[in-house]
């Protein structure tokens, strides 16, 4: 009895903390759905579904969406949106592939730095020039995709023409429209295993823990939430609105850069036509997690659960094969849309009931 009394104030006690801050209420619900879906999949499809191979592949594949969705969560909490993440990821995957011949560190850090710079540019146009996030990130969406398309020409033709006397062994790696990673440098080790789990999974756990702490326990996180709640009020209170917004977009860019590194390392060949529609996938995951697009509210852990649920369901769709009828990619798109519809529908009616 005394325990429940102690927990009755929402900001104190472990239970209040879990439900109010860390998960948000919908996160718990989605988490339950996630468990149910996983168990159902395991019962229906047996060991082919819950085998280590399938789960690992799914986790590594979805780690890219997880990184992008983490950045997107922060952006959406400020009341903005970042459409540029897919283009940033594809541009940085080209960079990662090319820099893979100089070793592991350049192949990771150059893409992340470039992603951060693009994010900083987004943040600058949004918070300094006052351009709406939708348009500002649409512009970098176009520009980064254009740069990704031209990247093979820059590395393959322009650089070789610029320095004709140097022998460019790496020109061989650059085709007309793609860049092949250098396998001798062991770049693909970054999607390998470490202590039994793939490294991207570890990275996600670290990133989301840091993200949750950042949002809940730091000044930066508080300001982020305040901006989304009421930007004008936050500015009048003297909070560093401009700097925080810029940093939020920079963070989104950096995480998209990290997703690009994993993309290059997974596929072995970086193509500028990859990662189409990722920004919408990330927005879906954030919405499924329960973060409102109006900003001011949101949870990092819920987003991770949203990513996992979406990933799990689309993984399950691949297993469906009833009497020779399997779901094609096209049907999967229909199911994907219907699923998002149902989640948002439940979310809105659930929110109305709890208001």
């Amino acid at each position: 009895m005394a325990v429940t009394q102690a927990n009755s104030t929402p900001k104190q006690g472990i239970r209040g903390f879990m439900s109010a801050n860390l998960f948000q209420n919908q996160g718990v619900l989605v988490f339950v759905v996630l468990i149910v879906v996983f168990l159902a999949g395991s019962i229906i499809f047996g060991s082919t579904f819950y085998s280590g191979y399938n789960i690992t592949t799914m986790l590594v594949f979805n780690s890219m969406f997880a990184f992008i969705s983490l950045g997107m969560t922060f952006v959406i909490i400020t009341g903005g949106i970042d459409l540029s993440v897919s283009s940033v990821a594809v541009l940085t995957s080209m960079l990662a592939a090319w820099f893979s011949r100089f070793g592991l560190l350049p192949a990771i850090f150059v893409p992340v730095i470039v992603g951060t710079l693009i994010g900083l540019f987004n943040g600058w146009t949004i918070s300094k020039l006052g351009i709406l996030p939708f348009i500002a990130t649409l512009v970098t969406f176009m520009a980064a995709r254009g740069l990704a398309l031209i990247m093979p020409k820059i590395f393959g033709i322009y650089l070789a023409n610029l320095f004709p006397n140097v022998s460019w062994s790496w020109v061989d790696y650059v085709a007309d429209y793609s860049i092949v990673i250098d396998r001798s440098q062991n770049f693909q080790a970054i999607i390998g295993n470490f202590l039994g789990l793939p490294i991207p999974v570890w990275l996600i756990l670290i990133a989301y823990t840091l993200g949750a702490v950042l949002l809940q326990y730091t000044r930066f996180g508080r300001v982020t939430l305040a901006i989304g709640g009421n930007e004008e009020a936050a500015r009048l209170m003297g909070l560093p609105v401009t700097v925080t917004k810029t940093l939020v977009y920079a963070m989104s860019g950096a995480l998209a850069g990290l997703a690009g590194v994993i993309l290059a390392s997974r596929s072995g060949t970086a193509l500028p036509t990859e990662a189409v529609g990722w920004e919408l996938q990330a927005i879906s995951a954030v919405v499924v997690g329960g973060t409102l697009l109006t900003g001011g509210k949101g949870s990092v852990v819920s987003t991770l659960i949203g990513v996992l649920l979406l990933g799990l369901i689309f993984n399950l769709l691949n297993f469906i094969n009833v009497g020779g009828f399997s779901l094609t990619v096209y049907w999967q798109a229909v199911v994907r849309g219907a699923f998002l519809f149902i989640v948002v529908l439940l979310q809105s009616s659930w929110l109305r009931r709890n208001r």
Partner: protein, 354 residues
Amino acid sequence: MTTSDQASGISTTMRDGTRGLLGKARTYGILAVILILVIFNFFRIWNTISNTATFVESGTVQQEYIRSLNQALNVNLTQVATIVIVGVGMTLVIATGGIDLSVGAIMAIAGQIAPLIFLGSIGQRFGMGVTNTLAIIVPLIVSSAVGLFNGFMVTQLRFQPIIATLVVYIGGRGIAQVLTNGYLQVFRNPGFQYLALGRPLGIPTQVYIMFAVVILADLLVRRTSFGQYVLSIGGNERAARLAGVPVNRVKTAVYVISGFLCGIAGLIVVAINSASDANLNGLNIELDAIAAVAVGGTPLSGGIATIWGTLLGALFIQLARFTLISIGVPYEFALVVNAAIILTAVYLQRQRSS
């Protein structure tokens, strides 16, 4: 009676914002840049023609020049037509404070249904005239219905517009692909393709359609109470509701109009290509359309709709792209430059409006 008077009172002030001095300055700014681009292209084409054709007598050089100009004009107008048609619907949606991401998916659905009709059994049963009429009407009904679904989600289920139309963006293209299992439908149907390949008075049919859509929409916004309702909802939805504006009906209607116009655009794309490709029809057009709307001076926050501005915005983006590519800038790099141009244009718009 009084409520509707109040409603029109609210929106008249907003409408004046678009027609006032600031609005004019904005429109003329873009118009001036478009004129500069056009004149530049006149000289550029003249230069190319006179350089390559010095050995021909002067009479044919002039003929060649006029032919090239005509070709350049047609290329630009043809390419811009679908973006403008979709952009007009987008302008109305954005004017109510919403956004429509589903436009490309609706185009794909409409474009996929038309060949299904005239290549299928209906086409063999009835005459060509009936079939082609059906092949135009049925997709337009379906695309309006998808728009209605968007409106239903936004007004009845209270989804945020970006999420509601995201649902259709993801699922709609899937439906279009499922209709033929993702296969292309290749066809040759002069009657249907007159929609895009017809040249009444030497100008492509879709350019007429484009201008008709722009003029009608402009009249709708400026001369009807519906247009005033649209603007008042975007300006302040709560105030509009209190003033007796049928907010839900108007918002639904706006998404239906957007869906209908996307249907037209989807049919035009299919007619140009002689093939329906659900994977590519209207891909990324929502971004082009939104960029055109933003450059044209309609703020994404709603309350203002400049239909002619959207036409000018789309023309400006198209001409900039055309000029860049024709002076030899690689397509990929033109994307980057275009992005910078859009950013600058939107920034200047913002500067003037504040």
